[in-house]
Assembly symmetry: C2
Homo-oligomer: 244 residues x 2
């Protein structure tokens, strides 16, 4: 049986997160509904990174078996886009090895977080964190350095997450895209639940001058969720790219 | 009694157009609901330009009487933003003359229409017209010249519009904002219903090479809606600015 991977984007605004759940609209649910329409049978999918409600994806990756042998990658892309709702779009499909599971094969996951610091722009309300105070990005960059590398990220996990808290962040870049638009780009192998949003919440404390950059090192070393700042809202976050 | 004008933006996606109507969600309805919450009485508003369902505004202008004498323009802006839904935002408020009616006082209305010609971007699906063919903007600029000035725009009106079809377009600019993002900026005193979208639909025919630029002159002179091309979709259109 053939197996395909797809790279797809979605606007997370109207989804109750990625993972399929009964009675709510999820990205996985819609994807598997579209596959069922195409193949007339339930097709199960594996995904590179589950995202929370309101979180977007520019380049999420999923994989599934294809029960119709003659279909090409091009057919898969077209058939899915014809059957998916308007807030999910398949950018690319390609054939993969029988054992390909994007969750375990991913070598790098890149998340983007967008913060806008001037007046509200109605057209971006679901796509950036509007934050009305100016941020000192030089200080945020100094703080971000402490998070790079392999660490116990217990201070930045979701409260109830029991997974191994040791993770590796390759790099955090903080880029001023426009005068009042800041991109925080976080590259790592894998992340704990809410980890990127918790990191952003704490970096913003530094950007505001409420914390010195070194406080991030202290928070990290205390390995306790209570030490870090609040979680940044989901709608500024994008699973930007998964690299295999 | 004091009178205020407001400049406000809205995302037209989830509105059944600007004008208040029973049983549907309209921008005017939401604005007057917010005013009623603030003033505990129904306040009627006048507006510079009614927009159709799905059409956005960057700088719509409305005016209304204020029954509470001590309120300042700053208070009006803040009170409205605290009471309006998330898809309407007041950018500015200022006191105006008792007789100020934005519909009749407007000296210029500027509309923007955005067309994107590369692959669908899920985050822009409600904000640009995705159009998968390349457009020749040089030819579109030649065609647009025929529409500038005072003309009978019957060929570009909505079928059932009985208003005087003589209108003045000061200028049409066609600007490549990015490689695959085209802005059509139309400046005039006032417009017939659907007029900008009908003009865009016909200019796109020229951009595609289906019509020579001179065909626009011919269509205009025939003064018949049947001669022009189809109407461009509403979600690429913005009432960008009203000048008094």
């Amino acid at each position: 049986m053939k197996r395909f991977a797809i790279e797809f984007s979605y606007d997370g605004t109207n989804f109750f997160g990625y993972q399929g759940q009964p009675n709510v609209r999820t990205v996985q649910g819609e994807l598997e509904n579209a596959l069922e329409k195409i193949f007339k049978e339930r097709i199960y999918t594996q995904v590179a990174g589950r995202t929370d409600a309101g979180v977007h994806a520019n380049g999420q990756v999923a994989a599934f078996n294809c029960p119709i042998e003659r279909l090409t990658a091009r057919d898969i892309k077209n058939a899915l886009n014809a059957n998916l709702p308007r807030d999910i779009y398949v950018k690319k499909a390609w054939e993969v090895d029988k054992n390909f599971n994007p969750r375990f094969k991913a070598k790098k996951r890149i998340y983007h977080y967008l913060i806008k610091t001037d007046e509200r722009n109605i057209f971006l309300r679901n796509f950036v964190w509007h934050f009305k105070y100016e941020l000192n990005i030089e200080k945020m960059r100094i703080a971000a350095r402490f998070l790079e590398g392999e660490h116990d990220f217990s201070s930045f996990k979701k409260g109830n997450d029991r997974k191994n808290p040791i993770r590796t962040i390759f790099r955090i870049r903080i880029i001023r895209l426009r005068t009042n638009l800041i991109l925080i780009r976080v590259e790592g192998i894998s992340f704990l639940r809410s980890m990127v949003r918790n990191i952003v919440g704490s970096l913003v404390k530094v950007g505001l001058g409420q914390w010195p950059p070194e406080k991030i090192k202290e928070v990290l070393e205390l390995r306790s969720r209570q030490e870090a700042a609040g979680t940044a809202p989901p709608h500024g976050l994008y699973l930007y790219k998964v690299i295999f």
